[in-house]
Amino acid sequence: MSHYIGLPFTYSMMYTFLKLTNWNTYIAFFYIFAGCILLTIFCLFYISYNDRKENSKSSWTVYICKNLLFLFITIFFYPILEYMLSLMDCAEIKGVYYHSAFTQIQCWTSLHILHSAIASCMSLIFVLFCLLISLVYFEAKMNTRDYNSKY
C-alpha cells in the first residue's frame, strides 16, 4: 500500500524516469541540465556586464535568467542535484564497480571518469550558485508589483 502512495512522489524525480531509458539518453539529459546551469550563469554575467552600459532590465536575457533561477532554487534543485550525483552512484559486484542503474557500465573506467569529473564540478557549481542566489533573490519590501526587485 505504501508503495502505491509513494509512487507519485517517486516519479517527481527525474532520475526515476531516466534510469528506465538507456545510458546514452541518461548522459544526454545530464549534459542538457549542465548546459542549462551554464546558460543561467552566463546570462547573469551578461546582464551584469550590460547593466554598466545601458538599462537592460526588460530584455529577454533577464526573463530567461529569472525564470530559470526561480526553477533552480525551488522545485528543480533536488532533482537536478540528485541526477548529477547519481552518475557517480556505483555498486560493487564481484570486486568490480558498476553503475547502480545501468549495470553494464563499469565505473571509473574510460568515459565514466570524464562524466564523473564533469558531474562533480557541475554539482559543486550548481550548489554554490543556488545558495548564493537563494540568499540574494528575495524581496524584503511588501510590494508585489516590483517584479524587477534585486535586479
Partner: protein, 96 residues
C-alpha cells in the same frame, strides 16, 4: 510567482537547500549498508525537526498563505522523518 519571494530574510530557505544537498549526497553515496541508512534516517529526522521549528514558529514569509504552505510542507517532512526513526528504532529492538 513573485509573492513566494516576499520574506524578511532568506536564511531559512537557504537552510532547506543545504539540507537537500546533504540529503542528496547521503542518499546517493551512503545507501545500501545498514549503518549508513541509520545515519540518513536520523539526519532526515533531526533536520526535519529544525526546519519545522524554523517555518512554524519563526516564519520569514510576510504573506500568510505562503507561510502556511511552508509550515505544512515542513510538518509533512518532519512526520516522514519521525516515522522513519520510529521504524528504525522498532526494527533495532526487534533484532535485539
Amino acid at each position: 510567482m513573485f509573492i513566494v519571494f516576499i520574506r524578511t530574510n532568506a536564511r531559512y530557505t537557504t537552510f532547506v537547500l543545504i539540507y537537500q544537498t546533504f540529503a542528496a549526497i547521503l542518499f546517493n553515496f551512503l545507501h545500501g549498508t545498514e549503518d549508513y541508512d541509520k545515519l540518513f534516517i536520523f539526519y532526515i529526522g533531526g533536520s526535519g525537526f529544525i526546519i519545522f521549528c524554523m517555518f512554524y514558529y519563526i516564519s520569514p514569509f510576510t504573506k500568510e498563505a505562503v507561510s502556511y504552505i511552508w509550515a505544512y510542507g515542513s510538518a509533512l517532512n518532519l512526520w516522514t522523518g519521525i516515522m522513519l526513526v520510529f521504524a528504525d528504532v522498532h526494527i533495532f529492538f526487534l533484532i535485539k
